[in-house]
């Protein structure tokens, strides 16, 4: 069996007294499209920052492609691509200059970097405005550029923090096409997103973090089975109607699974007196 593409043992991060991520043990196999979910403030971005070297871990260890990130950070970074929360863009370069720059930072020679830049700009439909500075790009264009920069060196693992946030349907389609190509090529993708429909459609495996702790991990089917088993067990000892289950023959959606795991019943039943 292959070594996991990403694995963590007891990964913990504290900010003063606050524990943002606690004792997280992740295992992502090579070639997986892995979705990392959690409510706001659950610790997703903190975890992805630690996995990519943007943040130090308070304790625990991280292995990427069998290499210890702390000891072999340069070797690991050479094989991963990252779209971090802030997108890591240089606002006062043009798109082409930025991609060229990133390509060479990842060790590509100038000819290869130039050719891949042209291809990526064309693929991402960013070649129309060659003189426009990145700072003047729309949010969607910046996301596409950030993704292009993350893949220019052909990484074996791609880390994406909220790649679909603030992106329109057209740009989203381009990004998804790019990601699916990478998976077909054998790459591993680790992504966080709040758009559960997209995660459900793209990801083969998931992990859910809640209040800094990993509360579920596995394939979508495994998570679904776990939730249904829990619901069935609870139903056996509860009053009728207390636990809703899916109708016979209907599968639980990822959103339903997610809400049950993180206990997010929501407040949809509560009324606001002044709102009609």
């Amino acid at each position: 069996m292959d070594a996991p593409a990403i694995s963590t043992q007891g990964l913990t991060r504290r900010f003063g007294d606050f524990v943002a991520v606690q004792d997280v043990n992740l295992a992502v196999a090579p070639g997986q499209f892995f979705g990392f979910l959690g409510p706001n403030g659950a610790g997703k971005s903190t975890t992805i920052k630690m996995l990519t070297g943007l943040l130090s871990a308070s304790s625990g260890s991280i292995q990427v492609l069998g290499l210890d990130l702390a000891k072999n950070s340069v070797d690991v970074k050479r094989q991963i691509g990252v779209v971090p929360e802030g997108m890591a863009l240089f606002g006062r370069l043009t798109g082409a200059e930025y991609l060229n720059f990133v390509g060479r930072m990842y060790g590509l020679d100038r000819e290869t970097a130039g050719k891949r830049t042209a291809e990526l700009l064309d693929f991402m439909q960013l070649a129309e405005q060659p003189k426009t500075l990145v700072t003047d790009y729309s949010h969607g264009m910046q996301k596409k550029l950030a993704l292009a920069a993350a893949v220019i060196h052909g990484p074996r693992i791609l880390f994406l923090d909220e790649p679909f946030e603030g992106v329109d349907a057209i740009a989203s389609g381009t990004l998804k096409a790019m990601l699916q190509r990478m998976i077909a090529r054998g790459a591993t993708i680790f992504l966080t997103s709040h758009v559960l429909e997209i995660v459900e459609r793209l990801c083969s495996h998931l992990a859910i973090i809640h209040k800094g702790r990993l509360v579920a991990q596995g394939s979508l089917e495994e998570l679904r089975a776990g939730v249904e088993a829990q619901a069935a067990a609870a139903l056996a000892g509860a009053s009728p109607g207390e636990f809703a289950t899916s109708a016979p023959g209907e599968k639980l959606t990822l959103e339903e699974i997610f809400l049950r795991i993180v206990g997010g019943k929501g407040r949809s039943d509560q009324e606001l007196s002044w709102l009609g």
Binding site: L54, G91, G103, Q129, P130
Partner: protein, 553 residues
């Protein structure tokens, strides 16, 4: 402009805006930065209070004196001084600070009169208004003491003048704000201000030059200027007061009426601008033109710098792209030559000892080079500041900080070399070619100073980075600790250089200074390499702090 009455809704909205400003202020106190801001504001309040009350007393005395001496024409000079300060100070300050985004208010259901009033009040609460009002009050009191019977008339005219100033300042600011809302126009306005600042440097030398020759045409131009100034608000206000004192009431009333007309025109212009804002104008950046098919197909390769590793060359290229797109930085780079030019055009009379380069032109090259080093300070001591969120890339890419710093330092070194070459050429044209010994000693001294600055600069860039924007004027300084440390280093470098030059002079050979500088440069190079070797470890240890500072909004 009709309907500026205060309905209960408007009062609630004004109260809410005042409350939210207060809450923002109180919440700001939670951070050290916020507390320091309060201290700075307290200090500013003291300065404004002192300047306002002190200036007011000066104007009381001046107003009393010129009216008592029957030199009422001099009121115009004082009103012009107040007017120019009132109008120029806030505009200059706005180019150096961030402006309030009025669109934040527009999403609320504010009526136009409410919006107009809020903008007027928001803007009026600034030091220039407070100072201007206090000075005018002082002037009115001074005139009132000298001629009590004219106090009410003077007060009315000066009150109108104050209102005109407030409205005009708001109108100018509303336009400046519109330009500052877009990156391109912001850069253009920044460059214009910088040119103005450089032009101010030439005023002194030019006046000295003109003053040395008593020319009749200068007097003629002055008389023409006086005729025009009487048609403008400060001149009209002064005219209204002076004519009334001379018993010419009809011309005084006419001047006052014209002053009021100015006020109405300015009010209307302000109204037009604020209405455009209120109805939601599009201030997005202009869309760049689309590329031609040829442009789309064309391959753009990075720079090829022989003997330099790819990532270092990439960083060098990126640094030059950043600098070349920064109007403020480009103008800063012109400063050493501009300073030499100012020295060159200054009068060279024996009595004028200020222009010492006229007496010691061989020092022009070292002085120009020292200026070139000084302008690099911000770049060297906060070298990650302009990268902002791009800094994340340095932490996720497989490039060591050693190479990243090398690329940035190489850019700084090449810039300094270019600057020194430009200074040398400028010195050759403006003075005469510097002697070989001085040229060599200066270059050796610069090598030492650069290496020392880069060594300390690299450390401070990692330890105390601060996000800056090369494209914006003002608020672009490094952190306070970095500023003090860099000042200390520069003082040490210049002190040491002076001692070395004195030693060389005592021994009668400038070449001795060159040798000492080369030895010091060698020592600095060792320190530089030691710091570079530790850069990775330090940067990784401090990555949380670095990214928190550079990636903040």
């Amino acid at each position: 402009m009709a309907g500026l009455s205060f309905s209960p809704d408007m009062r609630e909205q004004f109260a809410a805006i005042a409350r939210v400003r207060w809450q923002l202020f109180v919440n700001g106190l939670r951070t050290i930065r916020g507390r320091l801001e309060v201290v700075a504001r307290g200090f500013m309040f003291l300065v404004v209070g002192f300047a306002g009350l002190g200036g007011s007393l000066v104007f009381v005395g001046a107003g009393w004196y010129i009216v008592s001496q029957r030199n009422v024409e001099w009121i115009a000079v004082m009103l012009w001084a107040i007017f120019l300060f009132w109008q120029f100070f806030p505009v200059m300050a706005s180019a150096l600070t961030e402006n309030v985004d009025s669109s934040n208010l527009l999403r609320f259901p504010l009526s136009f009169p409410s919006y107009f009033m809020v903008r007027l009040v928001y803007g009026a609460l600034e030091p220039a208004t407070a100072l201007g009002c206090l000075w005018l009050l002082g002037l009115a009191i001074g005139i009132g003491i000298a001629l009590p019977g004219f106090f009410l008339w003077t007060a009315l005219v000066l009150l109108t003048f104050a209102i005109i100033n407030i409205l005009l300042a708001r109108m100018i600011f509303a336009w400046v704000e519109r330009w500052l809302a877009q990156r391109r126009t912001r850069e253009i306005i920044g460059v214009v201000f910088f040119i103005l600042m450089i032009c101010f440097q030439f005023i002194g030398p030019l006046i000295s030059r003109i003053g040395r020759h008593s020319r009749p045409e200068v007097s003629r131009i002055t008389m023409q200027v006086i005729r025009y100034e009487r048609a403008l608000p400060p001149g009209l206000a002064a005219e209204a007061i002076a004519r009334a004192m001379h018993g010419a009431f009809t011309p005084a009333l006419a001047a006052f009426a014209l002053e009021c007309a100015y006020g109405l025109v300015i009010l209307w212009l302000l109204n037009v601008r604020l209405r455009a804002q209120y109805h939601g104008e599009n201030l997005s950046e202009a869309v760049a033109r689309s590329a031609s098919p040829k442009e789309k197909r064309s391959l753009r390769f990075g720079w090829n710098v022989s003997g330099v590793p790819g990532p270092v060359a990439a960083i060098l290229e990126k640094e030059f792209h950043y600098l070349s797109r920064s109007g403020p930085m480009l103008f800063t780079f012109a400063m050493p030559v501009v300073i030499l030019l100012i020295f060159r055009i200054s009068p060279q009379t024996p009595a004028k000892q200020g222009n010492f380069l006229a007496h010691a032109p061989e020092l022009a090259f070292p002085i120009g080079s020292a200026c070139a080093l000084l302008i690099l300070t911000n770049l060297v001591y906060n070298c990650f500041g302009a990268d902002a969120v791009g800094m994340q890339l340095f932490f996720v890419s497989p490039v060591r900080f050693r190479e990243i710093l090398l690329g940035k330092n190489l850019a700084s070194g090449l810039l300094l070399a270019g600057e020194i070459a430009a200074v040398w050429i400028a010195v050759c044209f403006m003075f005469h070619p510097p002697p070989v010994g001085i040229t060599f000693a200066t270059v050796a001294g610069m090598a030492f100073a650069l290496l020392l600055n880069l060594t300390v600069g690299n450390l401070l860039s990692i330890y105390t980075p601060k996000k800056i924007d090369y494209a914006a004027f003002g608020k672009q300084r490094a952190s306070t600790s970095t500023v003090f440390a860099s000042l200390g280093i520069q003082a040490a470098v210049f002190g040491l250089s002076t001692v070395i030059l004195l030693i060389a002079r005592a021994y009668g050979s400038i070449w001795l200074a060159a040798v000492i500088f080369l030895i010091l440069a060698g020592l600095a190079a060792i320190g530089y390499v030691l710091v570079l070797d530790r850069a990775d470890r330090i940067a990784l240890e401090r990555r949380d702090t670095i990214l928190a500072e550079l990636c903040r909004a």
